[in-house]
Amino acid sequence: MSASGTTPAVHARRNELVRGLLDILPADSVLYEPEDLRPYECDGLSAYRQLPMVVALPSTVDEVQAVLRLCHRLEVPVVARGAGTGLSGGALPLTDGLLLSLAKLKSILAIDPVARTARVEPGVRNLAISEAARSYGLYYAPDPSSQIACTIGGNVAENAGGVHCLKYGLTVHNVLKLEVVTVEGERLTLGSDALDAPGYDLLALMTGSEGLLAVVVEVTVRLLPIPERAQVLLAAFDDVTKAGAAVGDILAAGILPAGLEMMDNPAIRAAEAFVHAGYPVEAAAILLVELDGSNEEVSEQVMRVRELLLASGATEVRTAQDEAERQRLWKGRKAAFPAVGRLAPDYYCMDGTIPRRRLPEVLARIERLSREYGLPVVNVFHAGDGNLHPLILYDVNQPGALERTEALGRRILDLCVEVGGTITGEHGVGVEKLAGMCTQFTPAELTQMHAVKAAFDAQGLLNPGKAVPSLHRCAEFGAMHVHGGALPFPDLPRF
């Protein structure tokens, strides 16, 4: 799959593309030597790697338009890329394609503190928006765990979530307007600075479309006032069923926590050993409940949630006494993945979503499957919104372990779909979950998605082979494999 294996035809095609690009871009913005292409060979899903034919780094919208016009004319496939932190291989390059990096489009164009919006280029980092808005008492709500590195363009492409989705929504709920460039190089405005726009909701359609419909070149997001106060409670349970029920009790009581996270015993132990967050290591499960709002509101709700947790059978309820303790309690959760990475040479991360009421059953069946396959599974759960991250521990050096892991992963995803859930809650389909799409959708539904794609990109040049499998690919399957804990961005908190 390396560039050295290219045929003369590919070589000629590359030369033609490079020549065309050099008419549009400065020489240092066009990369084609194998050593220059190497940094782009994968995104956060590092099990899949291949070098792109060429990388282009435009720094203006005009340049993006010109590059897309060129690729359209030459019929060269285009894969757009932000920071490359995605976890499903959505930015995996194509050996015969252009990798279009939006990294140089990284200006915050305007912050309007009155209308509470930020207009930014796609290469702006998620956290940079909140940092720029802070002096106005505002912030950008969606906070994927990789927010210090991931870019807003990528967030839009993946409809990124975070730990505060239940209360504050996903990317789609927090974007007002997009400037996009179509595969023909035409610039379109989707959404508006008002709260809605005439015609079809193309803003929603574009969000989460994984780079298959158009290239995002500008994003206007809505900003929210920073809550006066945030408070976190930790509750320990001797039984995961009780912990799951407690989540339902809190929501049914009319309280909408900003964050609601659950970890099972192996996850608790791993996190505690790693960051010493002060977690109760004997507990079968813990819940972290974050409440935010005005001072008065948070005080009132902390008391109510405490009572609810105790009534639901919590063996212990702790309230963070200060900001330092709040940060420490969250640190354990945010470090859960690297912590699990210390338990085994490799782990494989799933991203299903399930109706929460099915949690006890799903966990029991995952445990049975885990025994059946002889592979330990650790569970971390965005309990508020049902997004379950089972981590399968394995050692790639043991014969057959990889195949067994993939098979177990498939069974877990099928289980998520079976109980009424979905194969991916927040990581996207990319190249990783194409097979799961075949479980979740009927051929007619997949065909409808292809028709939508064709309405934007009749020749299928934008990120081909990702997100929506062709009907004949419906038997293939991939996975996120982490070897020796070595992710491309090892220092990033995840999930």
């Binding site: 015609g199 929603a204 979740q440």
Partner: protein, 361 residues
């Protein structure tokens, strides 16, 4: 029973597809005026009703599209939950307007509400109808029954074709079933009235929205500013101290009158326009207007078309109860072309509510 109805509807659409017969989709028939007139065989979906599944602890409700909105709201209220986007019903006879529905009480349905993407006063604070759509089951223009999204809050598998149905007015598919995120009702609610002109009110609404205040509705009805506080008891109390003004005894009635357009502002002859604008857009004090949604939705009486004015202000207009002519802001040629291709992708023969949104769709 429901499956039989689904099958029957799908077969009707399939037959219409084969014959090329245009269909006019009708639910409760409460808002025929919110769109251009459709010429076609009536496809009545109002029998396809009933709540399929409601789980309060999951904050999710799924119902057939023909279910009356009132039935859904009653079921939610029993469990102290609500549709946080507060959809209007437009059910009772309105003081003015055309159309056969005037004297008959017609019930808004879930399908019609989602199809029109209708949201009430809480919209800028809680989100729009489309924000609460989690999944749909539809019949596309070929008579195929398709399901997109689901009953879970987080779902990024495939394109978000469920949300795309919100506001598409049935032109991309006949809604059969919708799953919505629902929310707890606030523990306490209070409405304040403050004396100020509309321009001051819009400036104030925007400033408040930038502070962590429990505000869930703001409106200047041409006379005074109104603010609804909602949330935990203590939070509402504290905010009330901060904002001042006079407590409105009939607060709930006020918001319902604005939402349902029974407020006196709407009771006059003439041509009504809905302007959807950036919330801080300048206020023209010479206009007779009711400003809702923290400044982002403005109702204006005007005999002259306001398309250009709305576009100039950074938003768009809707000609409310137009009777004839265009209802929705014209699209740019490039966007219209894309809309036509999308329409084609779902409804290749153009049989679903043709012309309801635009003549070309």
């Amino acid at each position: 029973m429901a499956q039989d109805l689904t099958q029957a509807l799908a077969e009707r659409v399939r037959a219409a597809y084969l014959a090329g017969t245009p269909l006019a989709i009708v639910g409760g028939g409460s808002k025929p005026w919110l769109g251009r007139p459709v010429v076609g065989e009536v496809l009545d979906v109002s029998d396809h009703r009933g709540i399929v599944h409601y789980e309060p602890t999951e904050l999710v409700l799924t119902a057939h599209a023909g279910t009356p909105l009132a039935e859904i709201e009653a079921a939610l209220a029993e469990r102290n939950q609500c549709l946080a986007f507060e959809p209007p019903h437009f059910a009772t006879p309105l003081p003015r307007g055309e159309g056969p529905g005037e004297r008959v009480k017609r019930a808004a349905t879930l399908g019609g509400t989602v199809g029109c993407n209708l949201s009430g006063p809480a919209r800028p604070y809680a989100g729009a109808c489309r924000d609460f759509v989690l999944g749909v089951r539809i019949v596309n223009g070929k008579g195929e029954v398709l399901r997109f999204g689901g009953e879970v809050m987080k779902n990024v598998a495939g394109y978000d074709l469920a949300r795309l149905m919100a506001g598409a007015q049935g032109t991309l598919g006949v809604l059969l079933e919708v799953s919505l995120k629902v929310l707890p009702r606030p523990a306490a609610e209070l409405t304040l009235a403050l004396e100020m002109d509309a321009a001051t009110a819009v400036a104030r609404f925007n400033a408040w929205a930038g502070q962590p205040l429990p505000i869930t509705a703001t409106c200047h009805d041409g006379e005074r500013a109104h603010v609804r506080l909602a949330g935990a008891e203590a939070a509402v109390r504290a905010a009330r101290q901060k904002l001042g003004g006079e407590v409105l005894a009939e607060g709930a009635a006020f918001w319902s009158s604005v939402r349902e357009q029974r407020h006196p502002f709407f009771a006059r002859p003439g041509s009504l326009w809905r302007l959807s604008l950036p919330p801080a857009a300048p206020v023209d004090l010479s206009l007779s207007q009711c400003i809702d949604w923290g400044g982002a939705q403005r109702w204006v009486w005007s005999d002259a078309p306001l398309w250009e004015a709305a576009r100039h202000a950074g938003g768009h207009a809707t000609h409310w109860r137009a009777g004839r002519g265009e209802v929705f802001q014209p699209l740019t040629p490039a966007l219209l072309a894309l809309h036509r291709r999308l329409k084609q992708a779902f409804d290749p023969k153009g049989i679903l509510n043709p012309g309801r949104l635009y003549p070309e769709l």
